[in-house]
């Protein structure tokens, strides 16, 4: 076995590390579960829906079924039965959400009906829904359909809609302008395509799509309005299968809702999982550093390894790397599971940037505390002194680090509304790995403070992405390099 794999195996099989990782993952999952199961603002349907179109080709009809969730995102593995003339044709939606079937078709001059039955499993229970789809006479494809009430994953509205275009031979959509305008529901004169065309508030152009979602960029002030949309191609309103006529076009009332947005989810994770990781990751780092390196060094066990063909630098690096694997695993696994639980409840993952920021934050905290214990492992010579130093590092630089700035600034009589207060708070954040999560939070939320938050422009106080990332790298690198040099140059 290569020594580095042994080191990793040794650390991952250490009782302390196992207990800590299980605790971190378990508590993070529980908090995510608690957030998901008790959050009351949830109103985004996470049950799959399906919309259907068709196109004719010779004596065959191709039924195009698209399954989607409340955000308009595709839903896979939905079983769809199309029943025509008592014969059932089945398909299952793919990753793209489509379940298409082609079968023989005899059009009539009155149009034809096809029964669509789609089913899926939720919590091991099969749920199905049936509706009748009408294929009009003398129409070769269903063209454009607009499905309103699609929830916007990035803000608090469901002013979005989903557009499904099924052309002949399943070609993508031509260039279509979606004219979106607020209307007064009680004023019939506004229920006309001409009104929409004369008062366009949004004009969004799309082409080449089979399915797409459109979210008009409304502001909070617009929330009291109802909106209508007309789809226009080359100046003419497109007839959709549901349209009443060119005067009206397609009118959809795009309503408001208050779903959990990405930012709200991030807030949930920040107040839950963040607290768990902020407390437990430094404990894991500090004590695994003590148990797997410092203790071996102070008791002399490490000499049984140092006498092998390995350099002092190689030994400290491999131990640091192996312990880092445990810390990084704990952070990533706990976040990944929390994200999956959140997805289960909200049908929405955390944003990639938030996920990465979060992981980076606690990896920095963990590795920085680990490196600090490595430094102390070379500065003290007894096991007891090292354990004391490790506990002190954790207590002062993590546990009480959010309180220390408040106490110091209060003692100095610095007003919490002054610039000096913010500057000093930021300085404290930079001064310990225990403050790193607050630093990242300040960057993300434009606010600073633990007990009460002050809205600030973080860049004005030296909190920029570049500086924060640099600080993180330095918090890992500097203590580790000090420990490395002590290991190489001192007995």
């Amino acid at each position: 076995m290569k020594p580095i794999f042994y080191e990793i195996k040794r650390i991952l099989s250490s009782k302390f590390v196992i207990v800590m990782i299980v605790a971190i993952i378990g508590l993070s999952s529980l908090l995510a579960y608690e957030s998901g199961s008790t959050f009351t603002q949830v109103s985004v349907p996470n049950t799959p829906k399906i919309t259907v179109g068709f196109f004719l080709q010779g004596n065959n009809i191709t039924m195009v079924g698209y399954s989607f969730n409340g955000y308009g995102s595709p839903e896979k593995n939905i079983h769809v039965d199309y029943t025509y003339n008592n014969i059932t044709y089945s398909s299952t939606t793919s990753d793209t959400g489509f379940a298409n079937v082609t079968f023989p078709f005899n059009p009539t001059k009155y149009g034809s009906t096809i029964t669509v039955n789609y089913s899926y499993r939720a919590f091991r229970v099969s749920i199905s829904s049936v509706f009748t789809y009408y294929v009009p006479a003398n129409v070769t494809s269903s063209g454009l359909q607009i499905i309103p009430d699609i929830y916007n994953p990035s803000n608090d509205t469901k002013l979005g809609f989903l557009a499904l275009y099924v052309g002949g031979n399943s070609k993508g959509a031509p260039n279509i302008n979606f004219i979106i305008t607020p209307i007064n529901a009680s004023n019939k004169s506004q229920f006309k395509t001409s009104y929409l065309l004369e008062h366009p508030e949004f004009n969004i152009s799309k082409s080449g799509f089979v399915v797409t979602t459109i979210f008009p960029d409304v502001t909070y002030a617009d929330h009291n309005y109802s909106y209508a949309v007309a789809a226009v191609q080359n100046g003419s309103v497109i007839q959709s299968a549901f349209a009443k006529g060119p005067e009206i076009g397609f009118v959809g009332t795009l309503t408001l809702y208050s779903p959990v947005t990405e930012s709200k989810l991030e807030g949930l994770v920040n107040s839950g999982t963040s607290e768990i990781l902020g407390f437990f990751i430094p404990i894991l780092a500090v004590f695994s550093g003590y148990l797997t390196y410092g203790k071996d060094r102070t008791t002399g066990v490490i000499e049984s390894v140092l006498k092998r063909p390995i350099t002092r630098g190689g030994l400290i690096s491999s131990r640091f790397l192996a312990t880092s694997v445990a810390i990084v695993s704990a952070v990533i696994i706990s976040m990944a599971i929390a994200d999956l639980i959140i997805y289960h409840y909200f049908s929405m993952f955390l944003s990639t940037s938030f996920f990465l920021y979060f992981i980076w934050t606690y990896i920095v905290e963990g590795l920085a505390f680990l490196a600090l214990v490595y430094v102390f492992s070379h500065l003290v010579s007894s096991q007891g002194a090292l354990l004391g130093a490790a506990i002190a590092v954790f207590v002062v630089m993590d546990l009480f680090w959010s309180i220390i700035p408040l106490a110091v600034l209060a003692a100095l009589g610095v007003s919490s509304s002054s610039n000096l207060y913010v500057q000093a708070t930021v300085a404290f954040y930079y001064a310990s790995p225990g403050g790193y999560s607050s630093l990242v939070n300040a960057l993300r939320t434009n606010s600073i403070g633990s007990l009460f938050s002050i809205s600030v422009n973080p860049a004005l106080f030296g909190v920029t992405p570049a500086l924060v990332i640099t600080a993180g790298v330095l918090w890992i690198a500097i203590p580790f390099l000090i420990a490395y040099n002590l290991a190489v140059r001192r007995d």
């Binding site: 076995m1 002399g300 000499e303 049984s304 063909p309 390995i310 350099t311």
Partner: protein, 305 residues
Amino acid sequence: MITIDSVTKVYSSKSPPAVENLSLEMKNGEILGLVGLNGAGKTTTIRMSSGIILPTSGSISVDGHDVVKEKVEAAKSIGWIPEFPNFEPNAKPLFLMRYYAGFYGLNKEETEDRIERLLDMVGLKSHLNKKLRNYSQGMKKRFAIAESLIGDPQNVLFDETLNGLDPEGVLFVRNLMLEMRKNGKAVLLSSHILSEVEDVADRVAIINRGKLVKLLTRGELRTLGRIVVHISLANPDEGVRGLLKEFGDVQKERDEIVVTDLTIGQEKIPDIAAALVRGGYRIMRFDPVGESLEEYFFGVIGGKR
């Protein structure tokens, strides 16, 4: 071969060097004894040679590789059995042996063969399921011997290894060293049991307060025997010291008088007995013997037995 060249080790500026300007050579096919009092610098010398601690000045090379600058290459050729072996207490011997073997680039088959052979050799094959924390000190020493030899080193350093071993263990280590010598390996034995060193060593280095005091060759060891006279009297008194003073240095040890550094030739030794009889002393024992390494050692370092 290990070459120690003008090595000094200072642990603290407040205390004298643990090792000072020490030069020594461990040759292949030879057992070098390293003797000295506690704190003389034996273990420090060995730990520096093993790359565990760094010399303050001077250099140590192992088979031509500097132990500091070329640590990896040097360590491949060194096996160090410490006085107090210290292992990860919760590890089991096989697991740890495999880990150690990983540093020497052995393939799986070589690793398993060597581990089995070494653990069998040191008599631990029936104790493989125990964690090392449950091993006795003697078992730990046996394990230390096995793990130190996992890389088949050319140079083996035994630091007070005989301490804490049962008689069977002492015999085993002694035979192991002789076998290693026979196989052309360089062996260093540091021990307080000077008679053991005397029995097996080809050369003996005596160090005191970090300095090499004397390096005895095998030939010198054989002819070490300067005569000392052990005398027991039935009626000793204070006057006997004055009477014997003209024959050499007189030391009194419990009920025995030892005359060393004789000022007379070997053939004149009976004159000492005659003088005692003339002085009215009744002689219980009169034993002229060659000086042991122990006696020589204490003579050289200027201490007392």
